[in-house]
Symmetry: C2
Subunit: 156 residues, 2 copies
DNA sequence: CCTATTTGTTAGTAAAGCATACAATTTGGC
DNA sequence: GCCAAATTGTATGCTTTACTAACAAATAGG
């Protein structure tokens, strides 16, 4: 069959802008060692809600920026338009999100949370709190701050 | 279509045994923050070689344990038999790996590196060195040790 | 006003990973 | 020694994810 040279562009850092520093919101971390020894902690936190991390991210972002356009949403979460479509579609089908044509620009869809969507986000944030409690049971506040600070340094 | 409740079992920790502590071999790390702000560094290190991390892991493991059975290899890298098959197949097609029926157990395939496979692994290790140099340009040795130590604590 | 760009949408594609089914082999109870 | 059960490898097909390409509607700019 085909080869699986499926790795990305080879760029060492693939990141996005945004603010670091809020302890509030650490979802997990993940280190790869060589030899396949993958040590990680992933918050599969949202499994109980039937939500993926990406979906929660979308809800969260729409809550922060009501009326955000799909293209802007996708860009902030590093998804292309097609991928954004499928995620927004599913959230809409579940009744968590609604679309409206933007008045100022008829090409754009303005996204808003429904009440159900707000409820789901509240639940998701509850899951994050649980996860953070777990994190804090293992690491001191200084350690986590140090970790976040180190991450910030990656992007300098 | 179907829902995308594709998350794993909900287990908070999904890990594997193995030794931590060798600075030698840190391939990258990756922290997820809420709200979709994903800060990470992944070593797309092997892209230039046309190898994925999993493939390198397989080569590495076979080099360490010549004659290892597919099932054992897959288990150590947390892949099921089918996934292991495809990866081993591709590496074999490229001439990096060869299979032999185990003499002691006719069900098993014993895996060995070819010379080409050893060469590829050497190259891959070179890439890791480069990556580590990058890491060390940003973090002190104590910081990395601290990081690895923190990871170890996750699994206690 | 006409062309180029942007945005959303759909459809098709490729890769990763999994479950299932099956064959060959080994193991264990009798 | 014999037969059922378990193990291992293999092939097939499915699901999920994410991408590209093609297209339509709307906007922007000369």
């Amino acid at each position: 069959m085909d080869e699986d040279n499926s790795l990305a562009s080879g760029a060492l850092i693939e990141d996005n802008p945004g603010e670091i520093g809020e302890l509030d919101g650490v979802l997990g971390f993940h280190i790869r060692l060589a030899h396949g020894a993958v040590y990680r902690h992933f918050s599969e936190t949202f499994a109980g809600l039937g939500l993926t991390q990406k979906q929660v991210s979308v809800l969260w972002l729409v809550a922060d920026l009501p009326g955000i356009a799909q293209i802007e949403l996708g860009s902030r979460l590093q998804m292309d338009r097609a991928t954004t479509m499928t995620i927004v579609n599913r959230l809409q089908e579940r009744g968590y999100l609604r679309r409206e044509r933007s008045e100022s620009d008829g090409r754009k869809q303005s996204l808003y949370l429904t009440e159900a969507g707000e409820g789901a986000l509240v639940e998701a944030k509850g899951c994050i709190s649980q996860h953070e409690a777990w994190l804090k049971s293992r690491f001191s506040e200084e350690e986590i701050e140090k970790l976040v600070e180190m991450l910030a340094r990656i992007h300098e």
